[in-house]
């Protein structure tokens, strides 16, 4: 009888250990996602610091800054993504073997860029260049992040609730952008920053919650 009780205790202890391991792995995945969004925030906020002392912002500076920022972001994303895909693989979800997943992420950002930086500002040019670009910027972020959210949901079978503020807040910002004229582009930046901060916060909160 004692032997059976001891066995039962050992089993429940072993089960708890396995659960703790699982929780730590989930938590690590959430922290990596938070880092991804935080890198975007750092790049965006640094841009505002760089342009703050300038009366006019030369387009060459903006272009050079964002090309470099994209290069750094892509490099760090690749590093983080490699670790995240290993975590996904350990959950039994091999997203790297699904080329459609990578295509989904790529299409999200390219469609966001085409609509947000090309089509939408072009259509709204009558509202003024600044407002058109601010709405374009908010559209770019909300379309791209929403696309990522859908890609994760359908192709990785992972409902990333934490991502919702990162696309919903900029989408709602489109409705209110005109109240901030003529500083609507700065306003758009803060709206995106706020949305991304909420996403980072949600990922960190859930990472610690997963640890119990």
């Amino acid at each position: 009888m004692d032997q059976f009780i001891l066995m039962g205790e050992n089993i429940s202890e072993f089960k708890k250990t396995l659960e703790r391991i699982e929780e730590k792995l989930i938590s690590a995945g959430k922290i990596y996602s938070a880092i991804q969004f935080q890198i975007w925030l750092v790049a965006m906020l640094l841009y505002y610091i760089v342009i703050a002392p300038l009366d006019t912002v030369p387009w060459q500076l903006t272009m050079a800054y964002w090309v470099s920022a994209f290069a750094i972001f892509s490099y760090s994303s690749m590093k983080i993504w490699k670790r995240m895909s290993n975590l996904f693989r350990s959950y039994g979800k091999d997203i790297r073997e699904k080329p459609s997943f990578g295509i989904g992420i790529f299409l999200s950002w390219t469609s966001g860029a085409v609509l947000g930086w090309g089509f939408i500002p072009g259509v709204l040019l009558k509202m003024g260049v600044n407002s058109a670009h601010a709405i374009g910027f908010l559209s770019f972020i909300s379309i791209s992040v929403f696309g990522m959210f859908i890609t994760f949901l359908y192709l990785a079978e992972s409902l990333e609730r934490e991502m919702i503020p990162a696309f919903l807040v900029p989408a709602l910002g489109i409705l209110t952008v005109l109240i901030a004229a003529p500083e609507d582009m700065v306003y758009a930046g803060f709206v995106v920053g706020f949305g991304f901060s909420l996403t980072v916060l949600a990922y960190l909160y859930n990472a610690f919650r997963a640890l119990g």
């Binding site: 066995m7 089960k15 396995l18 490699k82 670790r83 693989r89 350990s90």
Partner: protein, 102 residues
């Protein structure tokens, strides 16, 4: 099934399973770091890493920074294997629990 998981599997050894679990969220670690975390001798760690490398679960790389260092990196196969090993263990524990309840 239990015997297969514990005795015949490369991850059946607690040190090797600990190495893989430490590596999984980090991607890669230094040999020295693993040695400190696991509190084992270099020779002992080396023999476990060789076994994991032979199975294709890790890659051992020598890098020269300010001084030579050994970096251990988890492979895709290793990540997949440690995940399926944990799931198998969990399933086994659940089955044992059900038997215990009966």
């Amino acid at each position: 099934m239990f015997r297969e998981l514990i005795e015949n599997h490369a991850l059946g050894n607690p040190v090797r399973l600990s190495i893989m679990l430490y590596l999984l969220p980090r991607g890669k670690v230094l040999f020295r770091e693993l040695m400190t975390i696991l509190e084992i001798t270099p020779g002992n760690l080396d023999s476990h890493l060789k076994k994991l490398e032979k199975e294709g679960y890790v890659v051992i790389k020598k890098i020269i920074a300010d001084r030579p260092r050994t970096v251990i990196e988890i492979t895709e196969k290793g990540a997949e294997e440690v995940g399926s090993y944990l799931r198998a263990l969990k399933k086994l524990i659940e089955n044992l629990g059900e038997v215990g309840e009966k």
